[in-house]
Symmetry: C2
Subunit: 272 residues, 2 copies
């Protein structure tokens, strides 16, 4: 089944556009987790167990595992989600981008080693850096377009023939790169005007939306800007806001409460 | 000591601008290497032993290790170079780029976990994605500018106020991001005109130059375009052309011969 179909089914089944980002920061774990042998996995497992019915996807961020020499715990996490909660897609947030021969190795890393359902990639190097990923036609390839951070404007907003670079990226991806119908785009929740513009360019292409919660994006404005005609089309990610709602032993309960409230807030602004 | 000084010393000591890229592709190893317990490390070790006096740097490409679940062999490789051949800087080719909190984890991965002397990064997300790396003031941060691949033109050549994006990147890095004097740029050997333009923008900033050898860049044209007034300023990388000069048991001898010939060809076009 294609990634877009897996995602659409999950949107419907869960009645949720919320994605929880798994950014396991060992400095913020409650003591009972920190004391275990595989704390990153145990933390993720606890978060997943507490939120699985509230989400349309999970998004582990690979750097948190790489910094801790804990690739095995990333694999454990993805395998755990697939085994215990089948139907929930896992997006590996890696933002890879390199020449074709190297991109092929990164595609093996994301899709074969870790078994991710989708991966984030960087468009700066152009199509041959993306193609090795899109050739996995049952997986999703999520291309950076307009990111949520302050520095995004350094290059993404520069005008080319009167239109900012990120719109050229949206155009290129939707009209040229998406031949296997497995491309998506990243557009930050912090930039609703830009999101509306991207939505007008790419039709119903799903958007991965970081930046609600810790990064400050407003849910209502973002939903108005980005949802499709049928009230869908968005994977709204929150990482730190959910994961560290409490840093004490009640972290599962706190994470669930924040996730539920965010899911409901998102749903309250969806077109039905 | 700063990365730029380490590099300058090594340029002088080795009388070489050649960098050998370590892209260990298990499918191309001679049998004696393939049969070992840590074949990626053993291959790299053999290549390093055969070429160490001919190079100014080594550049392991992390994706080849990640695809093989062999992060430990990447670490072994970097530790081996530092221990056996002190003074040769190691550039981790990873092309990372993400929001600040995530970029900090990637900086830990590159500089603390692996102990790399420099790392390649992607400018698309802007300065806050780069700053966590530049804050390691004794390490080098090598920003993609005009890459060597065909798809480079998709976005890097788009004109903004009459100047292509890659020139805006060169400008931004050299005038705003380089406050710790530890930034460098990637400019492909396959684009000498663009390299000359970048050189005119960034003064003596060192350039990492992929694309000679397997990718087809011409050495003479590239040297004319990119070297500084004193005949230096370039880290000229060859990976596959050196590593797989022979795929038989004579691979060390063959790699050394290609590396020596490339070093000499480069030196023959340097201003003295």
């Amino acid at each position: 089944m294609s990634f877009i179909r897996t995602l659409s089914k999950r949107w419907e089944q869960s009645n949720s556009l919320l994605c929880v980002g798994l950014d396991p920061d060992t400095a913020r774990f409650p003591e009972s987790i920190a004391a275990t042998e595989n704390p990153l996995f145990e933390f993720n497992k606890a978060i997943v167990d507490a939120t699985h019915d509230l989400v349309c996807a999970y998004k582990p961020q690979i750097s948190y595992f790489a910094a801790e020499r804990a690739e095995d715990q990333l694999l454990q996490t993805i395998e755990y989600i697939h085994r215990e909660y089948p139907g929930i897609p896992v997006i590996l947030d890696a933002k890879r981008g390199d020449i074709g021969s190297t991109a092929s190795r990164y595609a093996v890393e994301a899709f074969e080693r870790y078994g991710a359902d989708a991966v984030t990639v960087n468009p700066y190097m152009g199509f041959d850096a993306i193609q090795p990923f899109t050739q996995y036609t049952d997986r999703g390839v999520i291309v950076l377009c307009r990111t949520s951070n302050a520095g995004a404007s350094d290059f993404q907003d520069l005008l080319i023939d009167g239109e900012p670079l990120y719109q050229h990226v949206a155009q290129k991806v939707s009209t040229e790169w998406n031949t296997h119908d497995n491309c998506l785009l990243v557009v930050g929740a912090t930039w609703p005007e830009q999101m509306a513009k991207v939505r007008s360019i790419v039709g119903d292409m799903p958007l991965l939306v970081p930046g609600v919660g810790a990064q400050g994006g407003d849910v209502k404005t973002m939903l108005e800007a980005g949802q499709t005609a049928n009230g869908s089309g968005l994977i709204v990610n929150s990482s730190r806001g959910v994961l560290y709602a409490s840093e004490g032993e009640d972290f599962q309960r706190a994470a669930r409460a924040v996730a539920m409230s965010l899911r409901d807030e998102i749903n309250s602004h969806r077109r039905s």
